[in-house]
Symmetry: C2
Subunit: 233 residues, 2 copies
């Protein structure tokens, strides 16, 4: 039974066991499955997705608000938008093995919907909605600590953040300064890839360096490193 | 001290007293006030507004989810959008006397910002964010029960809901039916106003009637009454 192996994973990896298993089932039920099983009670995941969408919004907002006390609302908003990009939800649905538990219509199963990002994004929100109803906001937070929030400490969300603009904003807070990016080196890697090193300087004083597979990436990493230095001061 | 009369109103009307008064002060502080008082510690309301925005979203979503178990996600979404219309927030800011507690810059005070909807909308969200941090989601819910949620039982939000489409959707769920609206009467009122009565029928059987100051309003009220009858069955 695929449903059972999925539940064991939830328990062993995240210590989650639903009190009301019907909520979990509803979160993982796609509409055509119900059309094909008219005797099955219950609903599809869409109402729970409605609820889970705003549970995600507030969980992420509160997390960022408390974690980054020095960020202003524009920075908080930018990061929240990055984190509730539904495209990242598909990734975390797979991390939690939610895809294995979905009850799909036959046509959807045949066409590969079980691994389709759009479905997995919906399912993530529905699962969060179900967990919230079953166990409250604290349980949702604990689960997100192990998944979405853990990813903040990697560079998972960095691609969504404009670090160069943010650095500029910080440096020019008290008047104009001269910010310059320079490509310091360029290495040929295996497989036709290149690795660039970039530096960022303020008024001719180097602040930080970064490396990346493009000049743009290297500059972004340098800007991020410079921001980190400035925030630690 | 205007701050104090405002706090007494919060206590006597809503039984709200902040543990951390700085949160309340921050929620009611506009940026220019701080510019004019450089010795004052603290921030303006904008970070709390960021948090309160999503606290409003989830509070309303959860309320609707539980209150209307038969609504599908499209109907829930429509109503949530109606309820978190920020224009309604200005109204409730006044209901809670939040406007009296705002710390404004002088220029804003002179130009009448204290009674400006756009500011009162922001302040509502900031206040909700502060209340959430100070006393948790249950306290927010209790406060909303006395303000925003209470308004559901009046017709406050009805202007945002398309009852005619919703009735049509419900009636045609199992195939096409003939839905007809008819203006039954038209009365001349004092002050050049008119009062219309409209009926709605399905396959020539009258379902309900409604009255309003325009034919459109009367039909909407009739559709709402018909929906109520159908949901009670």
């Amino acid at each position: 039974m695929p449903q059972d192996s999925f539940k064991q994973h939830l328990l062993s990896e995240f210590n989650i066991q639903f009190h009301n298993e019907e909520l979990l089932r509803e979160a993982l039920t796609q509409r055509n499955y119900l059309n094909e099983h008219p005797d099955e009670p219950g609903r599809d995941y869409q109402r729970l997705e409605f609820l889970g969408d705003s549970v995600m919004q507030v969980s992420v907002a509160e997390y960022l608000f408390k974690r980054y006390p020095s960020w202003h609302e524009g920075q908080l908003t930018e990061m929240r938008i990055a984190m509730v990009q539904t495209r990242s939800f598909a990734h975390f649905s797979r991390v939690a093995h939610l895809n294995e538990g979905i009850r799909l219509g036959k046509g959807e199963e045949m066409s590969g919907a079980r691994d389709r990002d759009s479905l997995l994004e919906d399912i993530w929100e529905a699962f969060i909605g179900a967990l919230y109803l079953d166990q409250g906001s604290e349980a949702v937070r604990t689960f997100l600590d192990q998944t979405l929030f853990a990813a903040i400490d990697t560079d998972f969300f960095d691609r969504f953040i404009d670090f160069k603009s943010r650095l500029q904003e910080k440096l020019q807070k008290n008047g104009a300064v001269d910010i310059a990016y320079r490509t310091e080196s360029e290495k040929q890697m295996i497989g036709n890839e290149q690795l660039f090193e970039a530096s960022v300087s303020v008024d001719n004083r180097e602040l930080a360096r970064g490396t990346g597979k493009s000049i743009k990436d290297a500059e972004k990493v340098a800007a991020r490193a410079a921001l980190k230095l400035l925030e630690e001061k």
